[in-house]
């Protein structure tokens, strides 16, 4: 009787392990999607630091900012910012400032950025500018985790 108890315990733990492994195998197709969600959440967590670094453009105030998922492909995260300035903007300077701020923040080091780095200058888009050039909307696009997703720069 005493000898059979450890055997029974061993069998139960093995059965549990087997069940766990079965559940893992069956649910494994969800892994890429889970990783994607987790990674995109991580990007969102890092966004406040990015916005802070973007808010120091000389002579301008960062008026509004929000992040959203790209409406067209749903595979990119778009950071939308609005600047206000007392003097007209030098658009190229602003674009260059954005790119360098992104690089300083290390955004190019994230897995998507490994591929996206050459696109930073392209991804910083001036989407709208007021006629007096004092209010400007910018859009910065980031890759969402792309394990199963097509790109957003096509």
């Amino acid at each position: 009787m005493q000898a059979s108890t450890p055997k029974l315990e061993h069998k139960i733990s093995y059965d549990l392990l087997k069940l766990g492994f079965l559940v893992f195998l069956v649910l494994s197709p969800l892994l890429p999607y889970g990783i994607t969600m987790a990674y995109n959440s991580y990007l969102l967590v890092r966004t406040p630091a990015l916005i802070k670094s973007l808010s120091v453009f000389p002579g301008a105030t960062l008026d509004k900012s929000y992040i959203r998922q790209d409406g067209q492909t749903n595979h990119c995260l778009e950071l939308i910012v609005r600047y206000k300035s007392k003097v007209p903007y030098d658009q190229e300077k602003l674009r260059a400032f954005y790119t360098s701020a992104l690089l300083k923040q290390g955004w190019h080091k994230h897995p998507g950025g490994f591929f996206a780095k050459p696109y930073f200058s392209k991804s910083t888009m001036i989407v709208d500018i007021s006629t007096d050039q004092k209010i400007i909307w910018l859009r910065v696009t980031f890759l969402a985790f792309p394990i199963f997703q097509p790109g957003c720069f096509q």
């Binding site: 087997k18 195998l25 197709p29 050459p118 792309p146 097509p150 790109g151 720069f153």
Partner: protein, 113 residues
């Protein structure tokens, strides 16, 4: 490692098929990742079946359907024929359907691009 092998052989074959189908999908889904940047891996472009019918426009729902199909077919085929033959058959089916769509698209638009 030996224990893992025992565990693997002790689980139902269909569950192993789901897992293997998923792995096949993930490996080839890397194609889309590599298409994003300057590092274009031609072997993925050539060998990824999702790429063919989606050359004109990215079709996310089609890629998602491929993922589901690969897992379901993996389960059915591995249950029926075992790991190696089962995964080969399911892969052939996935490729065939995608290739057929590629041909249809080619005929319809006179070019896949």
């Amino acid at each position: 490692m030996k224990q893992l092998a025992i565990l693997w052989l002790d689980t139902p074959r269909w569950a192993r098929g789901v897992f293997l189908g998923n792995i096949c999908y993930i490996v080839l889904a890397v194609d889309y990742f590599t298409r994003l940047g300057p590092r274009q891996y031609w072997f993925f472009t050539v060998w990824s079946p999702f790429f063919w019918p989606t050359m004109r426009t990215p079709m996310d729902s089609w890629i998602l359907l491929n993922h589901v199909a690969w897992c379901v077919l993996g389960a059915i085929c591995v249950e029926r024929w075992g790991e190696i033959k089962g995964i080969l058959v399911s892969t052939c089916l996935i490729y065939s359907v995608n290739f057929a769509l590629f041909v249809i698209q080619f005929i319809r638009f006179n070019s896949p691009f």
